[in-house]
Symmetry: D2
Subunit: 339 residues, 4 copies
């Protein structure tokens, strides 16, 4: 930590700051300038809150200089994390992995039809919500365990892996037999109790960026899972909330290369939630891979105009097919492949 | 719902939209202008997603015209909700109620000292976290049930009521014997499973606005609790995330009068989280009450420079005392009182 | 400036950073920690861009520690700036000053009626646009010089001072004979050529915060005017752009006490643009003064339902009257008065 | 326009709204539902402000249903605008056009070196600021007319076209002989007087999106230029301000396909300002073209570590060269080419 004093700070102010730094476990190096005194805290105490120093008398500003996350940092595994699934699919390798499917599981027929189309297009994962977080208590809340069973069944039939959202600690046990990846939704990115539990599970997780989460907060939430011992973790950019209303969210494509630099974890893009409008999904999917994404999570529905949720952002099957063809051409430009 | 067609929409486009509206349960009134056709959907189908219509071919835009929440709306209880506690304290009445205390319960001594000072200043509720949601897994996570016991003990000793945060469904049962108000933190505002459970509890709740929640989303989350049958609910503005970094968050003071107009539920302000800097708390507390707040939730610590969390935004005891004296003068200007 | 190196930085990285700092005119103090090296740059070179250091190889982060503005800083005039007008009105003193009037000057009758009502309510300044910045080229663009003449005429008749917006350098000369304060609108807060010209004028200015300007940017824009020699400058918070759509903008009330701490310049609040909805203006005006504002700039129209611009946010005359009565009661709570 | 009344609206409320609509020139169609009355205004009055209706008594909400811009809309020229320069370069055609160069013109040597490298890499336009909008009055403000002359000189020598920023009406005449495109910076996107003047010039313009401008506001500002008769206009996404601080701005890549749908004007991306960090420029440039951009505007400096402005976001020459090679491979995936 570094504390820069105001040019009007008194020696007494300076001594009080030094005292507090020492108390926390820092060794303090002092630089006295003509205008300002600078206090550099050397050492890495377990707990300290840089905000506390910002409001001490005589302080101009205080800066945390060490990264607040450790296990999530790129240095921890410079070569990058690869997650290998039992069927040989790898996330975080050279191949850009595609995950697609409807927003919600609605019926056996709908999810089977989806799975077939998703598999035909070249995706490796089937997505589909069994438990649905909905802003309104009056909206469709998902099929629950029945949906999980259907997902497993049709995924096995079509050779796909299953990714689906977990909303609550009590669902973890229920979900385990049916799924391949626990998806943590944007609204639960800081549900720390849930994160901590998922750290103790031996099943890959995909953590979505919260709707107004900073990149640092994403990595701190990742740290909750990693510090429990679960290293099979992917991150996912899915749009942030801004003032712009032309799209549902503003997809922060730059978060993809920023995260790739800061962390060893695979980074996916979710253009469906990123923009929320079907026809914008293909260009944003292409942009995500151009910017370095390790995979894509997208909504496709066999009949989106009749979908029970998120129909407006679900692609038609033929859109997905055409998009994957384009992705196959684009991936080599950035040194990647699409199956 | 209203659908405005593009001026280039064909009759076929129009018919497809009408068909879909009828399918959902709307009766459709059509207005054909020289430029644009307007379709007004009369009736209130249970489920429909206005976004779905926005992307149909030939549609310019679609508007939901009924409020998506019902029980939370002002019309449901035009006279306003008053929550009466066993000791006679009322939230939502003429009196502006003050809730104060440290961010976290740290020790018996600290919380007792806090309670005494809070009571002396004129507050009716003691706040203090036993379970703490922290961005980093390495930060202090609270004393848990030990903290709950201490809160109850010192509150009883000083004649205060207890408000403290619930983070997880499994904590509800544990907390019930010790607390008077369940506080739902900003990060859990859309933890819908937790909200639904709290709807079945017979104990007042305070729901904080999520860090990037719209006012409509706050009211939809409130609807989750109300629709479970728990009507003793307060809302709380605690700052939203914007581009400005001079303050921790940007406290949206206007949310207070906006909410007072839209809902019958009492609305409090939390200037401590709203701005995150101790010396800005008193002016923002005064502003909240001037704008119509029914109460204030604030952090005060007997020794904020040594607080285990949020020390930077905790007032000194003498700041709280002085502030309450000012609030007593200010409240009558807006037709209220402070005890 | 301080540069914190990464823990993986090599000695070569460190030497290159030191070299560049020295080149810019810094003396460099080096602190070598077990993990990270910290380089403190002492001295204040005229030009340097902290962003340049953030991207140098081996750098963790770089921090500017001196304030980028000088004349606008509180230290420059710790006692605060008072602007005294020829008729004895003072902005920045104990009295909270009220400026009110319609969005646009529309006719002699309308502006005279406005002036009378504004004066009767207790305001000291008449506001009203003669040149109007409008998002659409098809909207009413103001009466121009004819509007300026009317403003002066009715202000003289009613004993008020005139504040009105300047949009363009060429308007300065034209406006000088008719006005008392040049208002710089939010859209022109970073029209640096205009600011520089206004620095050479000997007439007070009011600088509005840009719709997404940080507080530091407001002060840097103020610096443009001050550095030209014009010290009679007021600042004005008028709402920032956020994701919330329940109000036109989100009025950042906390900007008022933050600015009062950082600068010696008077700070006003404009609740009309801050929220954009008539009935929310009084609570936000009260909140502004409770939070420390030196004055208020507000829209009132004798017949807002027929206003040619911004009718939705213009108060009815009786609303203004009632509000000023409340402000008279509230001001003493924060040690101020309203005439 | 459509006005949806509240379910509690009285007949008197409804009549007052109808009256006001008729007064403005609308014919009104009324739909009376069991719950709510809907008033559809048919016709297109010149001036009306939808906000005015939102605050009338008994109104639930009001919606503008016609687009507020006309000349900028896609319908006005469904085939898209192509801007052809004297040397045969076309913007808005099949070829993705590259514009590159330093932030500022600093010296003959620097700008000549830049021009050579930019031309060698395959760019068609040389960018470089002669007039610089800088947040601080103490920063380098550009070389002015001397810079313009150098730009023209080296561009002619290297076969490039010149694009540079205009900040002020008085600069237009001065710039005309030296430049090929007037660039309107983000801070001037709503400098309406400047826009209006540029509408009367017969020289192409590039309008950058303001740092917090909505897409609709961009198109309304475009309308100012188009309505003056200047149709040779390009738009440019250059990052918006959000809460995220990992990048200088958040580049809204989705604005590119959204604009391509709404308007016939060519749309470029500026990843340098979009993210502000050199190493992120190539991935964001690739993403821009993948999402449909007609061109790129980028900063490259022969020696960015010594640049007088924006060095941190200027690419090294070899980065630009490598990027253009990748763009040549990528463009065909989306049906485009790069020279």
């Amino acid at each position: 930590m570094i504390v820069a004093m105001q040019d009007t700070a008194t020696e007494e102010h300076i001594q009080l700051v030094i005292e507090r730094m020492v108390e926390l476990g820092f060794r303090v190096h002092r630089t006295t300038g003509a205008a300002q005194t600078i206090l550099a805290g050397v050492g890495t105490p377990e707990h300290f809150d840089v905000a506390e120093f910002k409001v001490l008398a005589g302080v101009h500003d205080a800066y945390r200089i060490s990264s607040p996350y450790k296990l999530a940092g790129r240095n921890f595994r410079p070569e990058g994390t690869k997650i290998t699934f039992p069927n040989g699919v790898v996330v975080g390798g050279k191949e850009v992995v595609i995950m697609a499917g409807p927003c919600s599981v609605e019926s056996r027929e709908q999810i089977l039809d989806s799975a077939k189309k998703v598999a035909a297009a070249g995706a490796k994962f089937l997505r589909g919500g069994a438990y649905k977080p909905r802003s309104s208590p009056y909206s469709f809340q998902g099929m629950g365990v029945e949906g999980l069973k259907l997902l497993r069944e049709v995924a096995d039939e079509t050779g796909l892996l299953v990714i689906t959202e977990v909303m609550e600690i009590s669902q973890i046990e229920v979900m385990l037999p049916y799924i391949d990846v626990f998806q943590i939704g944007a609204r639960n990115m800081q549900n720390f109790n849930l994160l901590r539990e998922l750290g103790h599970v031996r099943k890959p997780c995909l953590l979505k960026r919260g709707i107004s989460a900073t990149i640092e907060e994403v990595l701190l939430s990742a740290e909750y899972i990693l510090s429990g011992g679960n290293y099979d973790l992917m991150l996912c950019e899915r749009g942030i909330r801004t003032y712009e209303t032309a799209t549902r969210n503003t997809m922060d494509i730059s978060a993809i290369p920023v995260l790739k630099k800061l962390t060893h974890l695979p980074v996916l893009g979710d253009p469906s939630h990123g923009v929320g409008i079907r026809d914008l999904v293909p260009p944003m999917a292409l942009a995500s891979v151009a910017a370095g994404a390790d995979g894509l999570l997208m909504e496709m529905h066999p009949n989106p105009d009749k979908a029970m949720s998120d129909g407006a952002q679900s692609m038609y099957p033929e859109q997905l097919e055409k998009l994957v063809a384009q992705l196959r051409q684009l991936a080599p430009v950035v040194g990647r492949t699409v199956a």
